[in-house]
Chain length 210, copies 2
């Protein structure tokens, strides 16, 4: 059983969402300067790199990331490869024939090529999930949706897609790096930091082949 | 199979190591102020709360946290309950009869009572692992060691214990909350953030009953 690390590396070079805080990493204690140990500090937005959105990101009465149910964040998942698609709509999903009883879906799109190419500039023309695509997934009983760019929704259309998913208690995982992963079934462990009362948290996510 | 979250919640109230950066969490975009979404920022030391030490924390030529092998961070683990012990020595471990072929050991000590009591002040009299205890674990082939306080080593004696473990490629996990967990066998998923070139990283860690 192979383990795939589907997490982006957090560094100041990582593209971040326009207007969000950037990534700052600083080594504040250095052995070479006489300290007992090397100790670093990180300052970043909680939606940096591979991360989880809590309902509170878009819903004022939504739960926060420390309250998310671990049983949604771990378990069987299906990676759907859509290399030719610019917008993931209900029609696209209908045609894709996601296996019955799928509860967690990760979308591998042309976005993944950006990570393969180590692109450091934020891109606006990434592939996203439409509002009707989100409604389709909710109707199907999906409980976790993952995307291989920094938002699940198309650029400048964040709210409708996020609202449909987060209102339905769907966990949204963004910033996945699926370059090494083929379409198929896996077990996912997506573990966000447990940050008190937060609208989201950076995560480490892995897939294990089944 | 029950899942146990053995992660401390990251908040400004969490005790941090003396001299390490504190925890700052700030909501920088607020829906109630007209923003499209709630977005927070976190600023903290990488050894905050439940976290992993990379060899580079104490060894200038050691690997960094983004280079740690996931196969060490996930797999079978043994929780050893030592409620009466003030220092975990080789003699204590010999007597404890850790099961053969154990590769990951988590120590549940009286430290866990501090988390149960939600203590916010840093404590100096926590239970740690002695240098000869570290040597014993390395000889036994242990590859991951977890502790229920913010350091694996006794206070003011950090370096010898850390050096013995990190030189041998043992992953050190600190700040575990084992209050809800009994002695026995589990599967651990300890997933630190993938921070570039870092001496450590905060992690989310879970145990699954076997």
């Amino acid at each position: 059983m192979r383990t795939y690390d589907i997490t982006l590396t957090i560094s100041p070079d990582l593209p971040t969402w326009p207007g969000d805080p950037g990534v700052e990493i600083e080594r504040v204690e250095k052995i070479e300067d006489g300290s007992n140990a090397n100790v670093s500090r990180v300052d970043m937005g909680v939606h940096t790199g591979t991360h989880v959105d809590a309902p509170y990101h878009f819903l004022q009465d939504g739960i926060t990331v420390d309250e998310l149910n671990l049983s949604l964040l771990t378990g069987r998942a299906y990676v759907l490869h859509l290399p030719e698609v610019d917008l993931i709509t209900a029609a696209v999903l209908e045609e894709a024939q996601i296996p019955p009883r799928t509860r967690r879906v990760l979308f591998k799109t042309r976005n993944s090529e950006l990570w393969a190419g180590a692109e450091t500039e934020f891109q606006t023309d990434f592939v996203g999930l439409s509002e009707d695509g989100a409604e389709y997934l909710v109707r199907r009983g999906v409980k976790l949706v993952g995307m291989d760019y920094l938002s699940i929704a198309p650029f400048k259309q964040s709210r409708p897609t996020h609202e449909r998913l987060l209102e339905a208690g769907v966990v949204v995982v963004e910033g996945l790096n699926l370059t090494e992963v083929d379409q198929g079934r896996y077990t996912i462990y997506c573990l966000p930091l447990k940050i008190a009362n937060s609208d989201g948290a950076p995560a480490r996510a892995i897939l294990i082949g089944v």
